[in-house]
């Protein structure tokens, strides 16, 4: 029999309903795996007792014929989602000891569907990072190892690095992530799993620690396209508590996986082939195009002319919103307080001690671009370019149904690499940021391994609120890719 931790969510749901195993057994298998793989540092807070209690309650519900859509499925929750009574840190020192008195809408919906929470997953501090090396609670390690340098510790990507590592290492069947500029898709690619950033407004942001409110979006991460769709079914939906949450119906995303993509037009943006794009990334992209052709879709070259301006636009808009959102961390109402002689002195000392270097840097950039005399030159200018980037996609989607690109310009790199200057690290998100600025759904799925045995991901981008087409195409690519490689120790 397959190890319980290697099952997909879909197969586990079927096993639970047939009585092959209980939710308690399934949960215990994941708690054992969690204990065995603690060196990955995927979890900030483990909640084993709570998980077993929830699993018992799930078994009772199932026995009573009242099982929900994800009943008994053990999940990890990114530690950016507020969880009632359970420490929530955003991987920052400044939220020391913070126990929310309420539950985020998305994590509540997953509970309502019957899922079991294993704990709170590590991330980059306030979701700011692409390698999970800015967490106050330490780096997360990628469970995958390079063939040429097996001793080297690799990054899981970021910011949802704990989520991606946990799902890949089989210490969660699925996880929540959040994505502001690539924070679900890039770590999914680095860890050989699937993740989708839905359309902005598809999932409620209520109760998620805010980074950049016009970009932040929650989404699921799992090991198959179908599992990812099942999780999104439970997470999505209108929420009156988030005024930007879209009042639109939620389709059955899993039902979209028909396997039939005949006649679909797939856009291949020529701007995503910059000089110096590695051969192996290019090769896997070409392979992806061939798979879609073989399934009856038609590739169409498209142009997204403002692509090169997405990164500088993002690094004005996101820090500006962050500097405003993070003003709430002042030592008064929650988290860390460092005493000072005056009120201002307390604010400054608390924020200096509480924020790490990357967060401090982004707050300061944001403060500067919003300050008197610079607002128009930086912030308003970036908002205008953002519209041009979004319009590029609108025009492209007149001719195509979905867009295919690489997820990231490389496979996972070593912990400590790419840290010479902040901009080098930011280049990781060059293929994911444009989608975020335009608010579109973007999914990453594993498409193959590089020469070093590390996973490479491909990204599918869809029209607003057309996750169904994205899932449908992803399902076909997943079958064609036949990605069965697993990291060490699985």
């Amino acid at each position: 029999m397959t190890k319980l931790t290697n099952l997909t969510i879909a197969d586990a749901l079927s096993g639970l309903s047939k009585g092959d195993f209980s939710a308690v057994e399934l949960t215990q298998a994941h708690l054992d795996s969690m204990a065995a793989k603690r060196e990955l540092n995927a979890y900030i807070t483990e909640t084993p007792e709570l998980a077993l209690e929830e699993a018992k309650a799930s078994d009772a519900r199932r026995a009573a014929g009242k099982a929900g859509s994800l009943d008994g499925i053990p999940l990890g929750i990114k530690d950016l989602f507020c969880t009632k009574g359970v420490l929530t840190t955003a991987a920052s020192h400044i939220l020391d000891g913070f126990k929310p008195q309420y539950e985020s809408t998305v994590s509540q919906k997953l509970k309502d569907a019957g899922s079991v929470t294993l704990g709170k997953l590590n991330l980059d501090e306030f979701a700011m990072g692409s390698a999970n090396i800015t967490s106050y609670h330490g780096n997360v390690e990628n469970p995958w190892k390079s063939k040429s340098e097996p001793a080297k510790k690799l990054v899981p990507g970021g910011s949802s690095g704990g989520s991606a590592a946990a799902v890949a290492a089989r210490i969660a069947m699925g996880a929540t992530g959040t994505d502001t500029g690539g924070s679900i898709r890039q770590p999914a690619a680095f860890c050989g799993i699937t993740g989708i950033k839905p359309t902005y407004g598809r999932c409620s942001r209520w109760g998620i620690v805010a980074f950049a409110s016009s970009l932040d979006q929650a989404g699921p991460m799992a090991r198959t396209v179908k599992d990812t769709a099942l999780l999104l079914n439970a997470m999505a939906g209108h929420d009156p508590k988030d005024s930007t949450s879209a009042p639109v119906a939620v389709p059955d995303f899993a039902a979209a996986l028909t396997g039939d993509i005949r006649g679909l037009k797939v856009g291949i943006p020529k701007e995503y082939r910059p000089d110096g794009l590695s051969d192996e990334v290019n090769k896997v992209w070409e392979q992806g195009i061939e798979w879609l052709k073989a399934a009856g879709a038609t590739p169409v070259e498209i142009s997204l002319p403002h692509t090169k301006y997405a990164l500088p636009t993002y690094y004005i808009v996101a820090p500006a919103e962050a500097s405003s959102n993070l003003a709430r961390y002042d030592g008064v109402r929650f988290g860390l307080r460092v005493e000072g002689k005056t009120l201002d002195d307390m604010y400054k000392k608390t924020r200096a001690a509480g924020f790490g270097a990357e967060v401090r840097r982004r707050i300061m950039i944001g403060t500067y671009v919003l300050s008197a005399g610079y607002y128009d030159a930086y912030y308003t200018k970036a908002q205008k370019v953002r519209r041009l980037i979004a319009e590029d996609f609108t025009k492209a989607f007149k001719d195509v149904d979905v867009i295919l690109t690489p997820t990231a310009p490389s496979a996972a790199f070593g912990i400590g690499d790419n840290t010479d200057d902040p901009v080098t690290m930011w280049l990781n998100d060059v293929f994911t940021i444009p989608t975020s600025l335009a608010g579109l759904p973007g999914l990453s799925l594993p498409a193959g391994l590089n020469a070093d045995g590390l996973p490479l991901g491909l990204q599918l981008i869809g029209r607003p609120f057309d996750e169904e087409t994205v899932f449908k195409v992803a399902g076909v690519m997943e079958s064609a890719a036949g990605f069965t490689a697993v990291p060490e120790g699985v």
């Binding site: 016009s214 109402r333 002689k341 009120l343 604010y347 924020r351 707050i363 908002q383 608010g439």
Partner: protein, 99 residues
Amino acid sequence: MSLDKATVRNIAELARIEVRDDELDHLAGELSGILTFVEQLAEVNTDGVDPMSSVADITLPMRQDVITDGGYAEAVLANATDAVREDEGGFFTVPKVVE
């Protein structure tokens, strides 16, 4: 854009983050590098383009101006350092502001 130390000190002041004198040079270098990178936007022609503040293509909803939530001061105060409990007045505390 190259920021000098005085400007960095002013930004830190606006952001209410204490910065030591010996950090100013390094921060000025980092922040100047980032600003130089983002300034490439100047080459994009944005004449007549409206700034985009949200991608959510929806009109913000209206609702009746009535109280629908609240009444749990104890929960609001639960995470604050040195908060005064609800039955003793119920407030946050900060260092003395008025002499």
